[in-house]
Symmetry: C2
Subunit: 462 residues, 2 copies
């Protein structure tokens, strides 16, 4: 797809839209804007703009549309698949200044926000107002716009679902600069093809989201976390279906192994309330009263012990819970001393042990360190592939081999290439390999229908 | 769009696919197959076929594709918008024989079913196995395939969401006869454009669903219903945001007025536990223990009384609850002595009173009986327009005027043309009128991308 360069004339027009001080030329742009948090993908935009409104974005896209210039939208740049990297140059549109909570509608229990609102800030602000924004991706400095564009999942998906399940409406700038509203404050909608759900998870390739209406829930009255050490992975993840059948759905249900935990506690420089077990489950339970919580913990603890747990440690103060979840939250950073890549696979949750043990075998066969952890409650596992001290060429070839094997096994188990991190630039080949050709062709046609000129985030997904 | 007729040669080929006994010619077809439950839309197919498998459906669609013949898919025919009526003739593909529950996967808490499985049958079967299929549209004899294709909502949407929220995977026959699997047993998915969510609610115009993977929940331990009479509609629906802010989310939260209730009890020939109030809320609460239920009912009752409720009647036995919900379930049939049409609007839930009181005014102005009831918890209101003894031409012209005014008001309040019944053939003009031209154009392009020949359920949605 031949694109045009960003000329002086276009720069002048962009300055007229966003203002001189909100435009940065490539030469002056910080290095971090050429990549995201993990993907080994580099791409420099010709110019970065920091718009402040839907109207400014519509004008930028109109200009790009008329001049056939790529537009890559970037939130906080915390993605892991190169989805927000300007691999074809052009304009990088950064949403950082669109960080306003526009409305909190308490009667309808929705909030209308801009895409650059940071997840943690928003969660805390809503909590102060007595509301609960349920999506809880591990990366709290991500923007909610980015969460919507990757359909981010996170810890609380077990009970509350993923970002998609909490979006009620989107304002979108389309590839020709039009502004459309999809959904709204309504709780239900059966009015034609659901373009909002198509837009969610489309990684900025079908339109640019400029406003998001999310639903708010009541704050859970009681929260308690359980740390449950096990001797074997199979026993640990085997508890998940048992809990479900017994009617117990934790808010969060994570698993991790000793190596990742040790890396994390070293990284944080803090002690962990238990050490030495090969594998842990970490659960957070919601209840509406202390009595209900007590009953829930009793039942959960009993089922874990019956399934072979060594112990059940209860963290019922906010401080104790924070210690546990901070350790979990730091996994990715803790592994980050070494160059890494990852597979964000999702499998039916009864196949978790199978794929993780398979990854152990291939790590040994291929000679590469793999660290896996993830969401036991929903089958979404992050298998991190670590370079450590490997020579570059060797690392790349072993990494590629590992990925091939893992995605292949994942497909055999009825899994998918990405559970929550998206496809971005890095995983396009695997999406293509493990999608039905007709499904891929439909995706291509959708892209062509929404963005005939191919200017929106080129080089992603397909 | 010029279609070809179903020739003798094609009939012969169809007989070869489904078998002589599963093909019915137009001349022999029962009248009910020419329309649905309500829409004043008639359309006779040239032939109806009753396939039994994905493979048969793929062969039928391939044949239709090669010969440019329309294919309209029909479940139980309980739709209200003419969505399953063969308005362009061709082949009517009835899913009635595809009524098998293929798999209940307890470990992953999903079931894989065929599209012709009847909602009530499935709900009961799952309940016997200790599972809860949460979507609960009023029409229990609908097929789940039809529910998926209209993204049906229903009573329990307040707490559990709509059909979309419970679909994990779809097997789909595309317009050229290919078979693709979208989603699966996985709980999360961020692998490219979400064609599954696009397919849900597309009313058979983008593909034909031949298998559905739905998620199952644990059965709620405790269920209790509350009947709450009010003197005014504003007071009644005003309770809804109050409950939400207090952290109370009922499983179901319906409102209805005296006229509809009386029609229903007359129709059923049964007494109702309370009579004479102008408006009622009917709530069903879920709790995990009797103690929690007691607390929940106390708090809910108190909030209702503070909001002006006359009384709070508690139905805690299965029998008493059934009496209440049977009355609610019979509303549509009870009004059905008279020809009718309906607006299935959805508004932000704090605007319910406004639109219902507006409908009272226009009923009086225009001289037509309107009966409204619906889902107070999510703002989805069914405004039924009754012909009663009006002369046909007069009825049609008044009905059209009422619809115009109601959809216009609905749009002003930030609402949508359909909350849960879909667009079908009847409401196309209103979808077109109240959608952004760019949104409509995107829908048209999606239709063209999925079904370039326009053979799948023509004359619907767009």
């Amino acid at each position: 797809m031949p694109y045009n360069p960003v000329t002086d004339e276009i720069l002048e027009a962009l300055r007229g839209i966003v203002g001189e001080e909100h435009l940065v030329l490539r030469a002056d742009l910080a290095e971090e804007y050429s990549h995201d948090e993990m993907a080994p993908v580099r791409g420099w935009p010709e110019v970065a703009v920091f718009p402040r409104s839907t109207e400014e974005i519509a004008r930028i896209v109109t200009l790009a549309h008329e001049n056939r210039i790529p537009v890559t939208t970037r939130g906080a740049g915390t993605g892991l698949m190169g989805g927000a990297t300007a691999v074809e140059g052009g304009i990088l549109l950064v949403t950082a200044r669109m960080d306003r909570v526009l409305e909190v509608d308490e009667a309808n229990m929705v909030a209308r926000i801009e895409p650059g609102v940071v997840l943690l800030t928003f969660q805390e602000e809503m909590e102060k107002r007595g509301f609960f924004y349920a999506p809880d991706p591990g990366e709290k400095s991500a923007t909610i716009g980015g969460n919507v564009m990757t359909n981010a999942g996170g810890m609380r998906a077990v009970k509350h679902g993923v970002t998609r399940d909490h979006v009620r409406g989107l304002k979108v700038v389309t590839a020709d600069g039009s502004v459309i509203d999809l959904g709204g404050k309504v709780a239900k909608n059966a009015s034609g093809y659901n373009l909002m759900h198509l837009m969610i998870g489309s990684e900025g390739t079908l339109g640019i989201v400029t406003e998001i209406t999310v639903r708010l829930l009541p704050l859970p009255a009681e929260l308690t976390s359980l740390l449950v050490p096990f001797q074997s992975l199979e026993d640990a993840v085997g508890v998940v279906p048992t809990l479900g059948k017994e009617g117990i759905i934790p808010q969060a249900l994570e698993f991790f192994r000793r190596d990742v935990l040790e890396a994390s506690t070293d990284y944080l420089g803090r002690a962990f309330p238990h050490g030495g077990a090969p594998v842990y489950l970490l659960l957070r339970m919601e209840a509406s009263s202390p009595a209900e919580m007590e009953r829930l913990i009793d039942r959960t603890g009993r089922l874990c012990l019956e399934a072979g747990a060594e112990d059940v440690l209860i963290a019922d103060t906010a401080e104790r819970q924070r210690a546990l979840w901070d350790a979990r939250g730091a996994f990715l950073e803790a592994l980050g001393w070494s160059e890494q890549d990852e597979c964000d696979i999702v499998v039916p949750r009864d196949r978790i042990a199978e794929i993780v043990l398979y990854s152990d075998r291939i790590a040994e066969d291929i000679g590469l360190r793999l660290s896996s952890f993830g969401h036991a409650g929903d089958g979404n596992i992050h298998i991190n592939i670590l370079r450590e001290n490997l020579e570059r060429g060797e690392w790349e070839s072993r990494r590629d081999r590992v990925m091939e094997l893992i995605y292949q096994k994942c497909a055999e188990l009825g899994g998918k290439v990405s559970g929550e991190h998206g496809i971005g630039h890095s995983k396009r080949a695997f999406l293509a390999q493990y999608s039905h050709p007709v499904e891929l062709e439909m995706m291509r046609r959708i892209k062509a229908a929404f963005d005939p000129g191919g200017i929106l985030n080129p080089g992603k997904i397909l």
